[in-house]
Symmetry: C2
Subunit: 142 residues, 2 copies
DNA sequence: CCTTGCCTTAGAGTCCACTCGAAGGCTTAT
DNA sequence: ATAAGCCTTCGAGTGGACTCTAAGGCAAGG
């Protein structure tokens, strides 16, 4: 069974040893120790950390992650709470994607404009402005 | 013609007066002044600021925004540079959306799993893992 | 008249997630 | 044997974008 010392593990997952010790301190990832107290990580740790990184990549904060880990440690009784938490994170992420797409639409319209691809008729501009207003309204609904 | 004092403008655009003065200091938004040196903002400033906020919302940094504003101030000779800059920002934003969607896919799969909606057959799990590996590989291409 | 809002400069504080350094001491690899 | 890697604690530094305070003063509305 393959194991990794902290330096190898860091290289494998693309984090620094500092960060790994920091995550450990925060309770996110608890490696094993050998007879000399040296940390070692297993393939299971690789999978778990990659999952953590996916969660972080959705915008989940350290604090939410810590909550999640604590709930997990408490066993099956907390699956409902975990679900609520993950649903929150997911809907935040959806909102963020939507916001990004809206902002990007504006940016790309400006790019088109710079490239002279937009017919600069009053009608067109006005309809795009109306569209933007609608987007801005929608963002306020959050 | 409607104008706004800084407090009204702040309320209108949803920023603090601190932030508006900060943006001004950074050269992003330069309001007019009345006879007593009090700032006032026009409808054009509203539009410009909203555009700035859309750009910021795509992930464009202060520093990029400052570059953009400086180029703009230099006139038509810089449209090419502005286009390059905006293209960069747009492709970064696209990448960020893709990353978010990938991470969200993992999160939602986990949610499904919690809800018992996933057939926990070895085959299914393995194919999902293969899928994740593929996503992770793709992220490395950036 | 008095409160509220605005003006200035300059600097300090905040938040988040790391990131690093120091110091002293084991352990592992070549 | 020697270097490279790892161990600890603990505190300080980083970056980005604000966010706020202080101090002293002018200006408009009720």
């Amino acid at each position: 069974m393959t194991t990794y010392r902290i330096g190898q593990f860091a290289a494998k997952v693309g984090l620094s040893t500092y960060t790994l010790r920091y995550y450990e301190q925060e309770g996110l990832l608890l490696p094993h120790r050998d007879a000399n107290d040296q940390r070692y990580y297993t393939e299971a740790d690789v999978k778990w950390l990659i999952f953590i990184l996916h969660l972080k990549g959705t915008g989940m904060t350290m604090s939410q992650l810590k909550t999640y880990v604590k709930l997990r440690a408490q066993g099956d009784a907390t699956t409902d709470q975990r679900l609520v938490l993950l649903h929150d994170v997911a809907s935040e992420a959806h909102a963020q994607i939507r916001a990004l797409q809206n902002n990007l639409a504006v940016l790309e319209h400006k790019i088109d404009w710079y490239q002279g691809k937009v017919d600069a008729t009053i009608a067109e501009d006005e309809s795009f402005e109306a569209y933007l207003n609608r987007l801005d309204q929608e963002e306020k609904h959050d």
